[in-house]
Symmetry: C2
Subunit: 189 residues, 2 copies
């Protein structure tokens, strides 16, 4: 679980004994391609760190799917709102490829707070970071055209473009696959 340790250490700088304790609560799990991590209506009862693979967060709305995000190696996946407030989730989270995860249950996750004094502080920082990412995303919708959103996302996530179906990236950027394809053609030439 070196990657997970590295992540927690670098982001949260907890001391070694706490770090080991936290990491020990995560178990290795896997998902086969197309299996679900979470389904609409369920309450999210786990948090996972992605060791390898891709997961797509989406909803189905009137016969079409809207992809909210694609998560991959080195990031966490969960439904924060559902995990924290114990509400039913709106999202489906499905594996786009075979996926390896380090997973902690909600119960164990909640226990950490009792064992490590600064945990809520760290959690706060983690959620605040997620908040900041969303804030940037909203701003991109208020201030950029589809083409600009494409360009910006491409510059920051080149790898993704040859590893997952492009239609999902189109959706998460708020455009149709056709528009995505036309913009892409322009950028390539």
């Amino acid at each position: 679980m070196t990657e997970l340790e590295e992540y927690i250490k670098s982001y949260f700088g907890v001391k070694q004994t706490d770090l080991e304790h936290i990491v020990s609560l995560f178990k290795e799990t896997t998902l086969k391609k197309d299996e679900y991590f979470l389904k609409t209506g369920q309450s999210c009862n786990k948090l996972s760190f992605i060791k390898s693979g891709f997961l797509r967060i989406y909803v189905t709305q009137e016969d079409k799917e809207i992809t909210q995000w694609i998560s991959t190696t080195g990031y966490f996946v969960t439904d924060l709102s559902s995990l924290i407030f114990e509400t039913p989730t709106r999202w489906n989270i499905q594996a786009l490829t075979d996926t390896e995860l380090y997973t902690i249950s909600k119960e164990d996750y909640q226990k950490i707070g009792n064992l490590i004094s600064q945990w809520h502080q760290l959690e706060k920082l983690f959620i605040a970071r997620c908040f900041t990412i969303l804030e940037d995303r909203i701003f991109s919708h208020l201030s950029m055209t589809a083409e600009e959103r494409y360009q910006f996302f491409f510059n920051h996530n080149k790898e993704l473009f040859n590893q997952v179906p492009l239609q999902y990236i189109a959706s998460m950027l708020g455009m149709t696959p056709e528009t995505f394809s036309r913009i892409r053609k322009k950028q390539l030439s």
Copy 2:
């Protein structure tokens, strides 16, 4: 400061002595119309609860202004990212009307954590709530047309429509004032 007390009590359910302590750290402040709460590039060093009035959060970009949000009575105003990570803010926050606030400095705010054991836990919940709101907003951009966003926002924030310039609401919903005006005309008839 009854409103502020009510808010903290109902959202965070802290015990009475803690509640009084927290509230005592807030000071009454005011802003005249058009004065700034925060300006682009500054580090946000305060958190305020709005007693009365309206504040607009916006940025200037290539000669035009993009409004990110309008905050009003009964809500908090700050730049969370800047407050927590001590980074320079991208936003301007300006009073749209004369405004009364209950304001706590970053220093005092940070002190609460040392004095009230569950504070970070409560902070976490607060930020998670903000996260959820942004998540909904992104989803509205991925799944709704300008007209649908108008309708949805109108249904949930009717009051705002006759209290602040509509161009700002247009901008925060991601459309031009002209488009906003045309949609509005349709909805009125």
